[in-house]
Symmetry: C2
Subunit: 392 residues, 2 copies
């Protein structure tokens, strides 16, 4: 478990709260920082650097160097990320997905996105599998609206292709005991036996293409840092089954609109949902926590504090990808030349324009869902594609 009695924050796959001290967390999890050296290597391979890398939204990694070593020698790898479909998506969910899309384009490779409907059923008390199924397919449409390559993207809905996943999950589960999940996730005697078993399923996509291709294919997992415990387990167990350790690149949690914690579907006012109306957006941003001063006068005099501002975070992580634009916003804020009210109005406009555009793209993406969601019907074809792509 990642709860630290000395710290005022909690980071587990099912609970993130408090102001996270990332330096401490990186040390505790045993991660490597995204440093200038690795950024330079990514830039060399990709031609440029995504702004989320430069801005350290993706803050840490495991073995990204090995993935780049292989890539530089012409070795292919695949990408794997995921989503727990227990609610509509909010803007925070899109940020790492957008970065993942950039990785897929730059490295021109396959991406598997696991939709952990089983997990959400086991960990959420008030949701039926039918309700989760609705969120699953709605979330997939939102994700596909970002423009993922329909020829190289597959969604793994756990209950949909469990027949493919289960035998591999059994082999993984056989190598994990209750003490392990107690230590890593803080499972207790009161945890249900589905929750205890579940982590085995989250390791499967890291090796599924290798099983299909009949050879080891390196895997890179872009994910939120809260999911690291699952992949610590993967990295421990998979080599004992003859597979490679998956590498990862880990994002900070997107900060909430409130003072602390991450955006959370369980607190609707903490985030902008993709389904929010222009009015909702206006209301939520109006109430958002900022780095502003007690009065307009004081702010004009002292300037704002963009580093503690949820409004500035939206620019930093989503709406001002251009570095000059971001620097300009920052400077004007620091100098007291723009007040929180104006800044919020501009952001509301940007968000509503984005959401309106997104909804159109989502509608258009609906026709690709049958193609990208793995089912009994299309799985043979998918396997063939993977085998061919990774055969050389």
């Amino acid at each position: 478990m990642s709860k630290d009695s000395e710290d005022s924050y909690v980071v587990t796959p099912w609970n993130v709260s408090g102001r996270i001290d990332y330096s401490k967390l990186i040390k505790k999890f045993g991660l490597s920082r995204i440093d200038d050296k690795i950024l330079k290597r990514i830039e060399n391979s990709c031609g440029d650097l995504h702004f989320l890398l430069k801005r350290k939204m993706f803050i840490a990694h495991r073995d990204l160097g090995s993935i780049l070593d292989g890539y530089e020698k012409g070795e292919k790898f695949f990408l794997y990320t995921g989503r727990g479909p227990s609610e509509n998506l909010h803007l925070g969910h899109l940020v790492p997905m957008m970065f993942t899309k950039w990785l897929q384009e730059k490295f021109d490779t396959f991406l598997f996105i696991q939709m952990t409907d089983d997990e959400k059923f086991l960990f959420k008390n008030n949701l039926s599998l039918d309700q989760i199924r609705k969120y699953t397919y709605d979330n997939i449409a939102d994700i596909m609206a970002l423009g993922f390559d329909v020829e190289k993207t597959f969604f793994i809905v756990d209950t949909e292709i469990i027949k493919e996943l289960y035998p591999i999950a059994l082999a993984i589960a056989k190598k994990i005991n209750f003490s392990n999940v107690k230590a890593v996730f803080g499972m207790t005697n009161e945890s249900n036996i589905g929750q205890i078993f579940y982590t085995a399923l989250q390791s499967v996509p890291a090796v599924l293409p290798s099983v299909w291709a009949g050879k080891n294919i390196p895997c890179l997992i872009p994910h939120g840092i809260d999911q690291d415990p699952h992949f610590r387990i993967s990295r421990d167990v998979l080599p004992r089954l003859g597979f490679l350790k998956p590498a990862s690149i880990q994002a900070m949690m997107i900060p909430s609109l409130k003072q602390d914690g991450k955006m959370s579907a369980s607190d609707p006012d903490s985030a902008i949902f993709l389904s929010d109306s222009p009015k909702d957006v206006k209301r939520k941003i109006a109430r958002a926590f900022t780095g502003g001063r007690e009065s307009a006068d004081l702010q004009r005099k002292l300037g704002g504090i963009p580093d503690y501002c949820t409004v500035f975070n939206y620019y930093k992580f989503l709406f001002a990808p251009d570095d000059d634009e971001l620097l300009d916003i920052r400077k004007r804020c620091l100098k007291g030349k723009i007040l929180c009210g104006e800044d919020k109005l501009l952001l509301v406009e940007k968000i509503n324009s984005f959401l309106s555009d997104h909804r159109k793209k989502k509608e258009a993406a609906a026709k690709f869902i049958d193609k990208v969601v793995l089912t009994d019907k299309n799985i043979c074809e998918a396997k063939e594609k993977i085998r061919n792509f990774f055969s050389n």
Copy 2:
């Protein structure tokens, strides 16, 4: 767990050893004895009584009375039993299957036989899923050789139709916590997370026909008493999901050829396997533990002790279904008129004749396997059959 520090025996689904005190075990498990009253009711419903009932091989039950109540009022129920396919079958495995076949015929109903390949993989260290798959289909052929109704018998191979089972298993798993499986099965911190989860799968067939038919159908589970812990869990959890408690009728463990314990695939000399050659059979029976005296003279004088004799057990539970025949063997033994050597020779003959006949039937049964094993291909038809049969 069923290990009792005062007792010298252990009974769990994965370990049975020692000389079992069934009176104590029935009390500890909270079972009802098969008594004359319930035997009379079975006889009334079935026209006669199977010799394994009269001889108390089936020794205990849960709620069998309710099943008979319903049946007497014209309410249908279904049968569910199972097999863990980690080895070739031995004669002891056939005994409860033969009784189950009798139940199916007398009550003219559907039977589901679960082949728990996932369980065996999780609990056996040295077996791959591929090896277990071979045993699974070989065991199914052996079971079908007994002549089960091919129109009303379905085999559930867990990994084969896991897509049907998994969502139901998740709902069940959500109601069971680690404390429960610790208390019921003796799971420990060292148990692997697949073992901890597995019991959820064993509850599923008890409700699968109800899920398919969209209405509650009573279930009767004939099984070895060692499996009772799984069904205690089923009876606790299923009503909380809106299903009926499954009823059960429970067999004693078939005694080993050795002095203590049950026949066990892990000790090849403790049982006669269906694949044993006539020579194997002769050797094993020659070495079998009997209720004989120290010398032939003494035995002629004092008589043997059939109640502590593995050879007599074979007559009692398998090869002397006729009560007069069994009584005759018993009397001659008690009076010292037949010695162990002669008795063994007669038994060897009976066993070898049975095995030779069985192998022919097994070969003939092979052509039904595709029909009776549920797969993605035939499951729709099976569901339709179940719906129709239980619709009135």
